[in-house]
């Protein structure tokens, strides 16, 4: 049942210790900063976090890692010039890393939402990221077996929601939002605006409301 939350705190209140949480965004574009801050405030810990990166600077996901809330990161690009909190925790052995090629990350998230139990992809074949994984030759190419990434909760950012939960995004801020919304049991969306059902052109809806559980408007 779709819920419109009055605050980001209310929107993330149900997140439990030990949850797998997907967080949208690529760089700052599409990052649900306010929801991440609320997740930090709500105190949930022992989290597995799925994001393309592993936090930047002294904000958002980086703080969540710094505070020791993140048990494991599933991401494609943890190392950045300002990923010092992740770097320190990783070198100290205090956070586990599952490094996934970015396209495998996207496709595994998509697979979870689409009910696919696993798939073969050429990406990573013959590399250390395929070590220990099942491989086979298909269509004449070496391919690696990859499994879906499901989540308990997705925290994403969209531009506008309608009252049926349909979402549209803005430019490259769309990135992981649509596939994470479909892959999580419970999807929380921060938006800049909420409009009546019928205001969005049905041709242009990117995430149908069926994938959305909670919506909160942020300033």
């Amino acid at each position: 049942m779709l819920n419109f939350a009055d605050s980001v705190g209310e929107a993330v209140a149900g997140i439990k210790d030990g949850s797998t949480v997907m967080i949208g965004g690529f760089g700052n574009a599409g990052q649900p900063f306010e929801l991440i801050d609320a997740l930090l405030d709500c105190g949930a810990t022992g989290l597995t976090v799925v994001n393309n990166n592993a936090g930047q600077g002294d904000q958002g996901l980086a703080l969540l890692i710094k505070e020791g809330r993140v048990k494991k990161m599933i991401c494609s690009f943890p190392r950045q010039s300002d990923s010092w909190h992740f770097d320190a925790k990783f070198r100290a052995g205090e956070v586990e890393l599952e490094l996934v090629p970015q396209g495998n990350l996207a496709e595994r998230i998509r697979a979870a939402g689409a009910g696919i139990g696993g798939f073969f992809t050429p990406t990573g074949y013959g590399t250390m990221l395929a070590e220990g994984k099942e491989t086979r030759i298909l269509d004449g190419r070496g391919q690696v077996f990859e499994t879906p990434i499901h989540a308990d909760v997705a925290l994403i950012k969209a531009l506008t929601a309608d009252t049926k939960g349909n979402l549209v995004y803005r430019k490259t801020a769309r990135n992981f939002g649509p596939i994470m919304a479909a892959a999580a049991k419970h999807t929380v969306v921060q938006v800049s605006g909420i409009v009546p059902a019928g205001s969005l052109d049905p041709e242009n809806v990117v995430t149908p409301g069926i994938y959305v559980n909670s919506i909160v408007k942020v300033a």
Binding site: M1, L2, A112, G113, A114, G115, I116, D162, T163, K164, N166, A182, P196, A197, G198, L200, P202, E203, V205, P208, G209, I210, Y211
Partner: protein, 224 residues
């Protein structure tokens, strides 16, 4: 409305429309639902606006409205049965892979399907008679049966020949294994699950009379 345990709630068997009304009443408010072709389509006639049900059609739409009439008819807006339909405010369109991802990914709360047979363990047979000269056609039946959180079947309990369609083991080719959670028939509503087949209510017969018609052990439901 409270549902009591395995009781006779009607003195006569239910007609198709009464059955559709019952299924509609049982669908939880706010649900996303796919109604199969044929008898299940009738359910849409009895959904109430305050239930806020969103209908999915697998050819690529959420927020499907009633069948189109007159000037509403638009060849580009059809349902899975290829009947012109309408769109409701808050509808959305998507391509076939995205539409079936909704079904296959477990996002539909309920799908309502017709059936040739349902087994005591919830196996469904509804796509193929298995006849030697029959041309098989499956469409989205297997995706719906396998993907929805709850699969409700609507059917008459007996064939025209008087044979139960609720069976120990399906003899027709299967659509899905262990997928059916409820069976709505003219004579009773059955719940299938790990605890065997339970009867939620009967129409025009007692539980004992029902048991005489059906070749699988029945028990009265202890709650629904």
């Amino acid at each position: 409305m409270s549902i009591q345990t395995g009781i006779q709630t009607s003195r006569t068997p239910l007609g198709r429309d009464d059955l559709a009304r019952l299924v509609a009443r049982d669908i939880q408010a706010g649900s996303f639902v796919n109604l199969g072709i044929g008898q299940p389509t009738l359910v849409s006639n009895y959904l109430k606006p305050e239930q806020n049900i969103t209908l999915h059609t697998e050819n690529g739409m959420l927020g499907m409205g009633p069948v189109a009439t007159g000037d509403q008819i638009d060849g580009d807006l059809i349902n899975a049965g290829k009947i012109p339909v309408t769109e409701l405010p808050g509808a959305s369109y998507f391509h076939h892979a995205d539409s079936f991802a909704i079904m296959r990914g477990g996002h539909l709360d309920i799908c309502v399907l017709g059936a040739f047979q349902v087994s005591a363990t919830g196996d469904l047979a509804n796509w193929h008679t298995g006849g030697p000269d029959a041309i098989p056609a499956v469409g989205g039946a297997m995706d719906l049966a396998t993907g929805a959180k709850d699969v409700f079947v609507m059917m008459t309990l007996l064939t025209r020949e008087g044979v139960s369609k609720l069976v120990g083991t399906c003899t027709y080719p299967l659509t899905g294994v262990g997928c059916v959670t409820r069976i709505y028939t003219d004579k009773a509503v059955f719940l299938t699950g790990p605890g065997g087949v339970q009867v939620r209510e009967t129409f025009g017969c007692t539980l004992d009379e029902l048991q005489d018609l059906v070749p699988v052990p029945l028990t009265a439901a202890t709650g629904a």
